[in-house]
Structure formats: structure tokens, C-alpha cells
């Protein structure tokens, strides 16, 4: 009898142990079931292609013949002897590290102004958001080319001040800056996020600061910005990753080749050229993985630095 009871108990215990392992499954199976469509998407559309590109990055693959294993050749070529690769990295870093801060300053400035209780706020918000909606589109890239071209409006405007006309998009020393301006102009989505963040700051902080005699700028620098740091951080990370992946504007404005003189040869554009005009899929895959590493490194760095300046209210 006793032995039997013991056995039963241990069996029960076993079940319990097992269920501890399966608890996760039991608890989440409905959720997982509902997630299946997304999971299938993730696996088929992201995971498998990623693994495939990882493999291809170690091969020579022209898309028509079977991939040929070449080990680290692609990576070695990229990092040691490809001058255009270095150029594309330079162009992209310049674009990201000038363009993103500019864009965020614009977004933040406008959010602060709009948050002052402007009449028709929602209207303004919508209008300022429009460029973000149009941003990465073909139409805007073409418009930009017209604006900054030889016969463009920008030249007409500058001629008022006696500045000689220049084809800003075709001049290798200025073409990248027209694209940076395009990026800064698409400040809508970070602006909306800033606005939401500004609304979250408790008004009593401002009230007590006013009582203590704080001025407008003191309030901005001592309350608004510190309280907003998590949002600034979020926007910074998101926009940084976005900017690293820029493609369309350079593709259109640079005439599909990153011209003039490779001055708008964005990283992704070069990757595209390698893959789809020169049929070097393996090489392009290696480039994609290097880009991933670069973005991950910068994002990681941002997270590390965040501890020093981002202020979370517990």
C-alpha cells in the first residue's frame, strides 16, 4: 500500500516536473496559435532568406549558375580592396550623422512650438506629417531633382540674392547635401512622437518651476529635455536605422549609379548595383551582413551611451 502510494506520489511529481517544462507551451499555446500567420511570415519571409543570404555571402553566385563556395573571399575583398565600398560607407555615414540630428532638431523644435497650444493643432500636425508619408517615394525624389536642378526653383530663389546658379544635384560636392535636406524635411513621424511625449510631461513641474522664477529656456533645458530623453533616444535609434537603409532618393537623384562621381553612392545603392546590375549576389549578400553589423554596432553604442543621458522615471 505504502509503496504504491509513494510510487503514485513520485509519478505525480514527475508530471509536475514535466508540466513545469511544458507550462510555457500550455500557457501560450492559444497565443502562439493566433500568432501562426505572423510566425509563418517571419520564418518564410525573413528567417529563411536571412539564412540563405548568410550562406550566399560565402559564395560566388551570379543568380543563374549554382553558388560556388569561396569562404571569406567576399568579405576580404570588401574590406581590403574595394574602393567603392569604402566610398559608399563614407557617404552613408555622412548622410546618417548629419541628416538624422538635423531631422530630430527640426522635429523637436516644431513639436515644442506646436505644443504651445497653437489653434488648429491637429491640422498643423497632419500637414507637417505629410512629408513623412511622401518621403521615400519616387515622386518626391523626382521633385527634389527638379528643385535642385539647374533650372530649379532653388536657383531662382538664390538668384534674388545674386548667387550664381548651380546644379546642386549634379555637383559632386553638394549632391549629398540635397539628400540630407530631403531627410531632414521628413521630420513628421519623430515630430508626432515628440508631441505625444510633450503631452506626457506633468504640468505641475512647469507650474512649480514658474513659481521658483524659472524662465522659458530654463524650463526647456531643465524640464522638457530631461523629461523627454527616453523619447529622444527612441527617435534617434529608429531614425538612425532608417537612414542607414536609405535607397530610393539616391537611386533616382543619382541616376541609378550613385553619381555624380559616386557622391551619392549610398551603401544600399551599391549593394543593389552589385546584386542586380553586375550579378554578384554573393558579394552583395556579404555587403548586407556587414551593413547589419555596422547598424548593430552603432545601435549598441547608442544603448551603452544611453545610460549616461537618458532619464527614465521609475
Amino acid at each position: 500500500m505504502q509503496a504504491e502510494a509513494l510510487e503514485r506520489e513520485s509519478a505525480l511529481l514527475n508530471v509536475k516536473k514535466e508540466s513545469a517544462g511544458r507550462r510555457l507551451w500550455n500557457k501560450n499555446k492559444v497565443a502562439l496559435l493566433f500568432l501562426t500567420p505572423w510566425l509563418i511570415g517571419l520564418i518564410v519571409l525573413s528567417l529563411i532568406p536571412m539564412i540563405a543570404s548568410m550562406y550566399l555571402s560565402f559564395t560566388h553566385y551570379d543568380m543563374f549558375n549554382m553558388p560556388k563556395w569561396t569562404g571569406f573571399d567576399n568579405y576580404i575583398n570588401l574590406l581590403t580592396s574595394d574602393l567603392r565600398f569604402t566610398q559608399s560607407l563614407k557617404v552613408t555615414l555622412k548622410y546618417v550623422f548629419i541628416g538624422v540630428p538635423l531631422q530630430l532638431i527640426m522635429a523637436f523644435g516644431l513639436a515644442v512650438v506646436l505644443n504651445r497650444g497653437v489653434r488648429g493643432l491637429s491640422g498643423f500636425r497632419a500637414i507637417y506629417y505629410v512629408p513623412s508619408l511622401l518621403g521615400p517615394s519616387l515622386a518626391i525624389a523626382i521633385l527634389w531633382k527638379q528643385l535642385f536642378g539647374m533650372d530649379g526653383i532653388i536657383n531662382e530663389f538664390l538668384s534674388i540674392f545674386g548667387i550664381a546658379p548651380n546644379s546642386w544635384v549634379a555637383d559632386p560636392s553638394t549632391s549629398l547635401y540635397t539628400l540630407i535636406i530631403l531627410l531632414a524635411w521628413q521630420f513628421g513621424s519623430p515630430m508626432v512622437i515628440f508631441l505625444a511625449g510633450l503631452k506626457q510631461i506633468p504640468t505641475d513641474l512647469y507650474e512649480s518651476a514658474s513659481i521658483d522664477g524659472a524662465g522659458r529656456f530654463t524650463k526647456l533645458f531643465k524640464i522638457t529635455i530631461p523629461m523627454l530623453t527616453p523619447i529622444i533616444f527612441f527617435n534617434l535609434v529608429m531614425q538612425l536605422i532608417n537612414a542607414f537603409q536609405a535607397f530610393t532618393p539616391a537611386y533616382i537623384i543619382g541616376g541609378q549609379t550613385g553619381g555624380p562621381l559616386d557622391s551619392t553612392l549610398f551603401y544600399n545603392l551599391y549593394l543593389y548595383i552589385k546584386a542586380f546590375t553586375e550579378f554578384q549576389m554573393g558579394y552583395a549578400s556579404a555587403m548586407a551582413w556587414i551593413l547589419l553589423a555596422v547598424i548593430a554596432a552603432f545601435t549598441g553604442l547608442l544603448f551603452l551611451l544611453a545610460k549616461k543621458w537618458v532619464h527614465y522615471e521609475s
Binding site: 496559435l33 549558375n65 536642378g149 549634379a170 541616376g255 541609378q256 553586375e278
Partner: protein, 446 residues
């Protein structure tokens, strides 16, 4: 309980799938019924043929006109048309080729892309269709048929044959009080001639629209005139010397300094401008370097102006007087096509049918078949008549046309980059030539 809940979730999922499946089923039903009816009448199934070409809105009209007639005559055939502009066409095509969904029939520029595609096993050989009579090659020029061959198989049929030329605006020359250039003008004479024009042109106008060094035909012709080629036949080395390249760049750099061709910056902007708004099409330039079949297109943009065609400058002290390549825009079939029989019929119609070719005329150059040419005599555009004359003259003194070997696309892009460095004055000609040779060799020996 739990099981039931799970089951219901499953059922919902299942339902959504079946609903989706059902709706697509109902869609396809009437189509099937339709095809059933036509089977009784024509004994042929309804087919859809995808047809892609490069061009411009004007050319699209011509294609549509021909394809509409074909659809009317063959009610079971529906042709899905996929036109693109020249630049977009090639990127789209390479993506489609890699993805295995090439259009059933599509255009292929043999000189530039023939070997890139023939060697990749994506194009259907046409020999069996010629043998069974679906495609007729009687009366075709041997040279033109040969241009469409790769390793003894026939892959492509020419839509026309054309050559790079200088199209010029005679009305503008008349306004300036300058005679048209004499035929067979040499490089030196052409330089003096265009400088003379440039002196009379107002600021912002150019004797030549765009920069010939920004595309590759110029250097290829120069190399051939000197007895070389762009790439060696096996595609492993360059077919010209550093000295050839330097002399070529120096020739045009001199004209650039004289203002005959636009500065690097201006021509960089021109190269991304659509044809209908470039300098030549807006009457701001006298010459433009293009295949002669495009003269008609520019004539439409420049209505009221009279245009003419001149062969590319000739070389006195070279090995060959001319270096032009026969450019063969051709029509090919995808190996993956599921309607090969119908596609072959359409190809035959397009290149041989007298009615169709009468509409197409010399859109892509002079047809490579005698019966079609005879049939066109009365309807040809005067510019095409002129083009035929120019081509006859050119063919007398050019070396055999060589299709560029596989891998040339990459070398071309390297060439264009260094040429642009020279045009912008960022590199001396010596340094750029040295850089180009180094990088091209590296790319070719991969």
C-alpha cells in the same frame, strides 16, 4: 473545455482559408467556361503572352497598334504588355531572369546584353520553330541571323539593325549660317567644325548635346578604328591600350574646354534627364550621339526642325576608317515560357508579317529581311531612307561586329566612372587612364 477552445480557433483559421480559396475558385470559373466555348470554335486554348520591350511612349503606341491587330486576328490570344524605359528595362529584366519569371517574349540588345543572357540558359533556342515552319527565316540576311546565334543555336531574331551615329539639326545649322558637315568627316575636321559652331551659339547652348565619353560607344569605336576592340573575345582582357584611351579622352577634353560639349557637371545632369527634355530635343544643341533609328523620335520632339543623320567621325591614320558596331535590338523567348508555341507564332508575326512590319517600319533600325525591306520602300520615313544610305556607306569600312563578351557590363561601369572623373576635372587623363586599366584588369581576372 480547453480542447474545444483550441478546436474553435482551428476552425476559425480553417474557415478563413477556405473562404479565401472559395473566392478564388468562383473567380476562375467563368474564365474556364469562356475557354470551353472557344475550344469548340478555334480548337485552340485561351493563352496569355507576356511581351516586354524598352522604349518611350511614342514607341509604345506602335507596339500596341501591332499587338491589337494580332489580338483581333487571334481572339484566343491576350498579350500582356510590359514596356519600360531603357534604363529601367535592364534592371527589371535581370531581376526577372533571376527570379525565373521572365516575360514570354522580350527585347534584347544583342551587342550589349546578348552574351550576358545567352550564356545563362534562360533563353529558348528557336531552331525547332524554324524547322517546323512556325518561324520563317527565308529572305533574312545571313549576317543578321548570325548575330542572333550563340554556340550554333539561333536564339534571337532582329527587330532591326542600327548603328551609333550623330543626329543633327539642319534647321539650326541654317540659322547659324553654317553648312551641313561633309560626309565621312574625320575627327580633326569634326573638332574644327564643331568649334566653329560653338563660337556662334549663345551661352547655354552646345554644339553637341551630352558628353560622348559618358557612354561607351565612343571609346569602342575609337578602339576598333585603331584595330582593337573594347574587350578581347574571351572577355579576359581589354582590347585597347592605355595610349588609345588617353588620346581618346584628350580629344574630347579639348572639345569640352572649348565648350563644344557640356562640362562634366552639366552633362551629369543631362544624363539623368529624359530624352524629350534634353538639350538636343529642346533645340539647344546641334548634334547628339545616338543610334540613327532614334532620329524620328527626336524629330517628333523638334517639330518644325529638319533633322539629318551623319556617320560617326572617321579616322584617317587608324587601321579602319570606321569603327561602328552593328547594333541589333532583337526579340527572344524565355526558356521558362509555358506558351512557347503561341509565343513563336507571335514572334514570327512581329518580324515577318508584312502588315505588322509596315506599322513597325524602322522603329528599331533597318529590318534584316529582304521581303520586309522591299515592302517598306514606299512608306519609310525620309530619315530612315537617309539612315539606310548611311549604313550602306558605313558597312564598307568597318571591321566585323563583335558582341561584347560576358562580364563587360562591370567593365563598362568602371569605364564610365573614370570618364566622369576626367569630365569633372577631378583626375588628370593620365591618372584616370592608369586607374581604369588597373581596376578593369582586377575585375576581369576575378
Amino acid at each position: 473545455m480547453k480542447l474545444r477552445r483550441l478546436l474553435s480557433v482551428f476552425l476559425i483559421l480553417l474557415l478563413s482559408f477556405t473562404v479565401a480559396a472559395c473566392s478564388s475558385n468562383t473567380n476562375s470559373e467563368p474564365a474556364e467556361k469562356n475557354s470551353g466555348k472557344t475550344t469548340e470554335k478555334n480548337e485552340s486554348k485561351n493563352v496569355e503572352i507576356r511581351f516586354a520591350w524598352w522604349g518611350n511612349p511614342e514607341r509604345d503606341k506602335v507596339y500596341n497598334q501591332i499587338l491589337d491587330i494580332y489580338e483581333k486576328e487571334n481572339p484566343n490570344v491576350k498579350i500582356i504588355r510590359e514596356p519600360s524605359s531603357w534604363n529601367d528595362y535592364w534592371t527589371k529584366l535581370s531581376t526577372q531572369a533571376a527570379g525565373g519569371n521572365l516575360p514570354d517574349i522580350f527585347g534584347l540588345q544583342l551587342l550589349l546584353y546578348g552574351n550576358e543572357y545567352f550564356s545563362k540558359n534562360v533563353i529558348e533556342p528557336l531552331d525547332s520553330y524554324v524547322k517546323d515552319g512556325t518561324i520563317n527565316t527565308e529572305g533574312w540576311d545571313k549576317a543578321v541571323i548570325d548575330a542572333g546565334k550563340y554556340k550554333d543555336n539561333l536564339y534571337a531574331l532582329a527587330k532591326g539593325v542600327t548603328i551609333e551615329s550623330m543626329i543633327f539639326n539642319t534647321s539650326k545649322l541654317k540659322d547659324l549660317g553654317i553648312d551641313s558637315p561633309k560626309s565621312g568627316i574625320t575627327y580633326e575636321e569634326f573638332a574644327d567644325y564643331t568649334k566653329k559652331i560653338q563660337e556662334k551659339l549663345p551661352k547655354g547652348e552646345y554644339a553637341i548635346s551630352g558628353d560622348p565619353t559618358s557612354i561607351e560607344h565612343g571609346i569602342e569605336m575609337w578602339a576598333r578604328q585603331k584595330g582593337g576592340s573594347f574587350l578581347s573575345e574571351d572577355g579576359k582582357s581589354l582590347g585597347f591600350t592605355e595610349a588609345d584611351l588617353k588620346s581618346y579622352w584628350t580629344y574630347w577634353d579639348d572639345l569640352r574646354k572649348a565648350g563644344v560639349i557640356p562640362s562634366g557637371q552639366v552633362s551629369a545632369e543631362q544624363s539623368t534627364t529624359p530624352d524629350q527634355s534634353n538639350f538636343f530635343a529642346t533645340g539647344k544643341a546641334v548634334f547628339i550621339e545616338r543610334p540613327f533609328n532614334q532620329a524620328k523620335v527626336f524629330a517628333k520632339y523638334l517639330s518644325g526642325n529638319e533633322l539629318d543623320i551623319m556617320r560617326y567621325p572617321t579616322m584617317d591614320n587608324g587601321k579602319n576608317k570606321g569603327g561602328e558596331q552593328l547594333q541589333v535590338p532583337a526579340i527572344v523567348m524565355s526558356k521558362k515560357s509555358e506558351v512557347k508555341e503561341e509565343a513563336a507564332k507571335l514572334i514570327n508575326y512581329f518580324v515577318n508579317d508584312l502588315e505588322a512590319t509596315k506599322i513597325y517600319k524602322a522603329e528599331n533600325g533597318i529590318p534584316g529581311t529582304q521581303p520586309v525591306r522591299d515592302n517598306l520602300e514606299t512608306v519609310l520615313d525620309p530619315l530612315d531612307v537617309k539612315a539606310i544610305k548611311v549604313m550602306e556607306e558605313v558597312q564598307k569600312d568597318i571591321p566585323t561586329t563583335t558582341i561584347r563578351p560576358q562580364g563587360s557590363v562591370e567593365v563598362l561601369s568602371i569605364y564610365k566612372r573614370y570618364a566622369q572623373n576626367v569630365a569633372f576635372g577631378k583626375m588628370s587623363i593620365d591618372k584616370a587612364a592608369e586607374g581604369f586599366f588597373q581596376e578593369a584588369k582586377q575585375a576581369l581576372n576575378k
